[in-house]
Symmetry: C2
Subunit: 546 residues, 2 copies
C-alpha cells in the first residue's frame, strides 16, 4: 500500500487517543451500575420484564463497513494533520460511530455490518480545520465534528448525505485554557475540553464554569455550545448558551470571531446562530465563557410536596421571585415513588411522600444563607415540607450516574429512554399529561406496560423544562418499539405547545419536527445560511436542518 | 386626478394620525427645555459658544421632494390598506422623513429640498402588511417600517436603494394588548404600541414591562425589538432582547412565529436574528414579553466616588455579586462636574464630588430592602459615600428629558450629540480614554474646544456600556464637523475592542463599521438571510447590512 495509515496489523488496536466513552455503553466500564435486587423485582412485578440472553458482539467481533476513502484521499488528509493524527483503524472508527441514545446502544448490539466514519482525523488547530474543510469540500467528503460522543439524538451519526465518504473530526486536541480574564470573569476554552478537564484548569486558578449536564464527565465545551446544553445548576449559573460571551467558528467560507462585547445592538446576535448549530454551519474551535469564583459555601435541602401541581407552583414562585437557588428540581409522583432522583436508592422504600424536590445553594457564605432563607420561605409558603439535607446530597451523589443504569436495564430486557421538552408555566400540566399519555398508549399498543416518570430540572421566570424517563419490557423489536413511542411523544409535544427539545438538541432524531418547531420560513433561513457557509454541503449532513 | 389620496388641498394638513414626535426636534413642544442662565454662561465661558440667528424653516416652509409614486401605485396600495390609511401629503410625509440624531435635526433646518418617503401607509393587520410587501416587491418600491421615529442612527431614513420609490410603513395601528398570561408572566403586545401605551395597558392589570430607554415616551415595542433597545432599568429587568419570549414577523417570504418555549435546544435561536434586524428582514408585528407585577416598593440612593475607576470597580462588584439594583449608573468626573445626570441642575453648583452614582431598587418591600442592603454594603466596601436619596430622585425626575436640552443647545449655537459602546470590565478604562481622545482631537482639529462626558448606564457580570455626551461650539458646517468626530470615535471604538453600538442600533450611521464588528463571514450571513427573505430587496435598503 502506497500510503500507510495508523491502523494496526489487524485493525483492532487503536492508533489515536480514544474518546472518553465506552463504544457500546455509557461512560467508564468501571462505573457500571448493576441492577439492585429491588430494581429487578420492581421490573418483573410492575412491567413483566424478563432477562434475555445477550447476543451482543464484542468490539473485536463487530463488523464495520469498510472505509470508502482512497489512498489519495488519505494522503491528502495526512498532508494536513500528519499521519499520526489520522486513522482508518476499526478500533478508532467504532468508538466514533454514533452517540448514546437507546437506539444507538441497541444498534451497537447488532452482528450485522455496522456503519462508521470512513476515517478519524484529529486536527491540532484552526488552520488545519480550515484546510480539512477546504479539502473535503473539494473531494466531496462529509465531516462530522466529534466532541465527547454523548449525543442522544444521532448528532454524530456517520451520515454521508450525497457525498462519497464521511470523516469524524475529533476536536480532542483543542484542549487549552486559552485566556483567563479575572477582572471581567471570563475564560476562553478550547472546544475539545471535556467538562472535568475544563473545570480542573479553571479550579487551579480559583474559578468555575458551573456547567453540569448529565453528560458532564464526557461531553466537551464545543459540544455544549453546538447543542445548547443545559446543566443541572442552570437556576444559578444559567444554561450554557447564557454563559457564552464569544465563539470562534471555522466554516468552509472562512472564520468567525463573534461576541465583541457583553451586549450589543450591532444587528442580529450571530452567536445565537452558531449556538445550537450542531456542526452544520461550521466547527466551533473556542468558546469565551462567563465564569465565577469557586463557591466558598454550599447548602443542600430536600423538600416534599403533596402533588406535582403544588410543587410546580412552588418552583414557579421561586423562579419568578428570583429567590436564587443554584439547583432546583422537582420529581413527579411516579419518579418519587421509585426514588429515581437518587440513583443508589432506586426501587427501595420510598424516601419522600408525594413529590420530592431538591435544592442546592452555592456562593459566598452570605449569598448562600440569604438565597437559602429566601427560597425556604417561598417553598414553605407554597406548601412544601422540608426533608433536610440528606435526600438532596443523595441526589447530588448520583447526579451523573443514571445513564449507567440504563445500560443495565437494557441488559436485563427492559427498554429505557428519556426525552425532554419545555413550555410556559401556564401550559406545563397540559404538556406533561399529553406526553405521558402518548408514551403510554404507544407502548401499550405495542404490547408493553410502561412506567413514565417526569421531573422539572430547569426553571425560568416564564416556564420550565419537563424531563421524562420511560421504562417498559423490551419487545422482540425494541428499535421499532421505541420508534413508535418516540414518534407519538414528539407529535404530542408539538401539538401541546412544547419545544421538541429543551437541551438534547436536534440531530437526526428530532429533525422531522423542526419545520413544525420553527416554521417553513425558519427552515428557509437555516438552509440559506447553510448554503452561504457550506456550499458543498460537507458539514454534518442529515442533521438539524430538514 | 383619477385616484384621490388623503392629502388636504394644500398638502399642509395631515390626513393620518401624526407620529408622537415633533418633526424637527425631540418630543412634545410643550416639554421643551430652554437653557438656564447657568448653562448659557458655561457654554460661553468653557466652549466659546455664541448664539446664532436661526434660518430654520417652519414645517410649512420645508420643500419636500415630490412623491415618485404613480396613480397606479397609489390605487394598488389603497386597495390593500384603504384610502383612509394612505397619504402622500407633505404633512404626513415630513414627520416620517427621518429620525432624531443631531445630523437629522441639522438637516431638518435646511431650506434646500428635503427627502421624505413617497407615501405613508398605515396597515391594520398582518395580512395587510403581507399584501403590502408582495405589492412593493412586485412594483419595486422600498419599505421603511416606522415606529416612534426616535432612531438616532438613520434607521428610518427614506432610502430607496435601487428601487423606484419608498413607503413609510407606520405600525401605529398595531396597538393592542393581544394576550396576558398572568401565570407565566407574559404579555403579547402589538408592535406599534409606544412605551407609555404599553405600560398603561399592563398597569391596568397590575403588570409592568419595565423598559425605560430615553426614547420611552415615543418609541414603540416593535422598534425596541428591531433595534435591541436597552432601558435604564436594565440591571433589574434586563435589556429588551432579554425580555423577548416570542416574535411575530411578516417577511416577503412568509410569516414567522418564533419562540415556542422559555428555552430550547431546537437549533439556532432565530429570535436573535430578528432582534436587531432593523426592518431589513421583515416587519415585526407582535412581541411576546416577560413582564412582572407592578413594584410595591421603591428606594432611591445616590453615591459619590472619588474617581471613575473606583466607581466602575464598585459597579463591577455589584454586577458580579448579583446584588440586585434595578437601576445603577455612574457619571464620570466631567459629567458630575456639570450635573449632567440631573437635567434640572445642569450647570449649577456641583451636587456631588468626584463621580456621581445613582441606584434605584424596585420590587416587594422585602426584595427592595434586601437588594438595597446588599448593594449598599458592596458600594461602601468599594469606597462609595452615600449622598442620600435626593440626587437619585433628581436623576429619575429628568430621566427622559436630556434630548430636549439638545434641541436648545443646537438653537444656541452649540453642537451636542451622544454615542455609546460597551466592552468587558478589564477593557473599560482603555476604551473610555480612546473614545474621549478621538472625539476631542477631531473637534480640536476642526477648531472647536469640546466637553466630552461619559457614564456607565448598563452593567453585566462581564462588562458594561459607556455612554458619551459631546458638547462643542458649532462650526459653520456642523454636519461635517460632527461627521469627522463621529468617524474618529467609531474608528477608536473598534480599534479599542468595543462594539460600535450597545443600544442605539446600526441604521445608516454605523453601517460602515459592521464588517469590522462581525467580520466578512458575518456580513455574508446577513446577506444570505436577506436574499432568502427579501429577494426583491425592498425592506429598509441602505440600513444595517454593508
Amino acid at each position: 500500500m502506497a500510503f500507510e495509515t495508523q491502523a494496526g496489523p489487524d485493525d483492532t488496536a487503536p492508533a489515536l487517543p480514544l474518546p472518553p466513552m465506552k463504544w457500546d455503553a455509557w461512560g467508564d466500564p468501571a462505573l457500571a451500575k448493576p441492577l439492585s435486587q429491588d430494581i429487578r423485582e420492581l421490573l418483573g412485578a410492575a412491567l413483566g420484564v424478563t432477562a434475555r440472553e445477550s447476543s451482543a458482539p464484542s468490539a473485536a467481533e463487530v463488523v464495520l463497513r469498510a472505509s470508502a476513502l482512497t489512498e489519495e484521499d488519505l494522503a491528502a488528509l495526512a498532508a494536513v494533520v500528519g499521519t499520526g493524527h489520522l486513522s482508518t483503524a476499526d478500533a478508532d472508527r467504532l468508538p466514533r460511530a454514533g452517540g448514546k441514545s437507546t437506539p444507538d446502544l441497541l444498534r451497537r448490539r447488532s452482528r450485522e455490518p455496522q456503519d462508521a466514519p470512513d476515517a478519524v482525523v484529529l486536527p491540532g488547530d484552526e488552520d488545519e480545520i480550515a484546510a480539512l474543510l477546504a479539502l473535503c469540500s473539494q473531494r466531496r467528503i462529509a465531516v462530522v465534528p466529534f466532541g465527547g460522543g454523548t449525543s442522544v439524538v444521532g448528532g454524530v451519526d456517520p451520515e454521508r448525505g450525497a457525498l462519497r465518504a464521511v470523516l469524524s473530526l475529533d476536536l480532542c486536541r483543542l484542549d487549552g485554557l486559552l485566556a483567563l480574564d479575572e477582572v471581567s470573569g471570563e475564560a476562553v476554552l478550547g472546544a475539545g475540553l471535556t467538562g472535568p478537564q475544563a473545570e480542573e484548569l479553571l479550579a487551579a486558578r480559583g474559578w468555575e464554569l458551573g456547567h453540569y449536564p448529565q453528560s458532564f464527565r464526557y461531553a466537551t465545551v464545543g459540544g455544549f455550545a453546538a447543542t445548547r446544553s443545559s446543566g443541572q445548576d442552570s437556576a444559578g449559573y444559567g444554561r450554557f448558551d447564557d454563559m457564552v460571551r464569544g465563539l470562534r467558528v471555522v466554516t468552509p467560507a472562512g472564520v468567525l470571531d463573534l461576541g465583541r462585547a457583553p451586549a450589543s445592538a450591532a444587528g442580529p446576535d450571530l452567536r445565537e446562530l452558531f449556538l445550537g448549530s450542531e456542526g452544520v454551519f461550521g466547527v466551533i474551535t473556542a468558546v469565551r465563557l462567563r465564569i465565577h469564583p469557586v463557591a466558598a459555601a454550599r447548602v443542600h435541602e430536600a423538600w416534599s410536596f403533596p402533588d406535582f401541581a403544588t410543587g410546580a407552583a412552588a418552583l414557579r414562585a421561586v423562579a419568578q421571585q428570583g429567590a436564587g437557588p443554584t439547583v432546583i428540581r422537582l420529581s413527579d409522583e411516579a419518579e418519587t415513588a421509585v426514588n429515581l432522583a437518587m440513583t443508589d436508592k432506586i426501587g427501595g422504600s420510598q424516601v419522600a411522600a408525594g413529590c420530592l424536590a431538591v435544592t442546592v445553594f452555592e456562593g459566598t457564605r452570605e449569598q448562600v444563607d440569604s438565597r437559602h432563607a429566601r427560597t425556604r420561605e417561598v417553598l414553605l409558603a407554597a406548601g412544601g415540607s422540608s426533608l433536610g439535607e440528606e435526600p438532596a446530597r443523595a441526589w447530588e451523589h448520583g447526579r451523573f450516574n443514571a445513564p449507567y443504569l440504563r445500560d443495565s436495564l437494557l441488559d436485563a430486557g427492559a427498554l429505557c429512554e428519556t426525552l425532554e421538552t419545555a413550555t410556559d408555566w401556564a401550559n406545563l400540566d397540559r404538556l406533561k399529561s399529553a406526553v405521558t399519555e402518548a408514551l403510554q398508549s404507544a407502548l401499550t399498543k405495542a404490547g408493553s406496560a410502561s412506567l413514565v416518570m417526569c421531573h422539572i430540572s430547569h426553571v425560568y421566570p416564564t416556564g420550565a423544562s419537563l424531563y421524562f424517563t420511560v421504562v417498559a419490557a423490551q419487545s422482540g423489536e425494541p428499535l421499532a418499539q421505541w420508534g413508535a413511542a418516540k414518534q407519538a411523544a414528539g407529535d404530542a409535544i408539538l401539538a401541546a405547545g412544547g419545544t421538541i427539545t429543551h437541551h438534547h438538541a436536534v440531530g437526526v432524531d428530532h429533525r422531522p419536527w423542526m419545520e413544525q418547531e420553527i416554521g417553513e420560513v425558519g427552515v428557509k433561513i437555516l438552509r440559506a445560511v447553510k448554503d452561504a457557509l457550506d456550499p458543498a454541503g460537507i458539514l454534518n449532513p442529515g442533521k438539524l436542518i430538514p
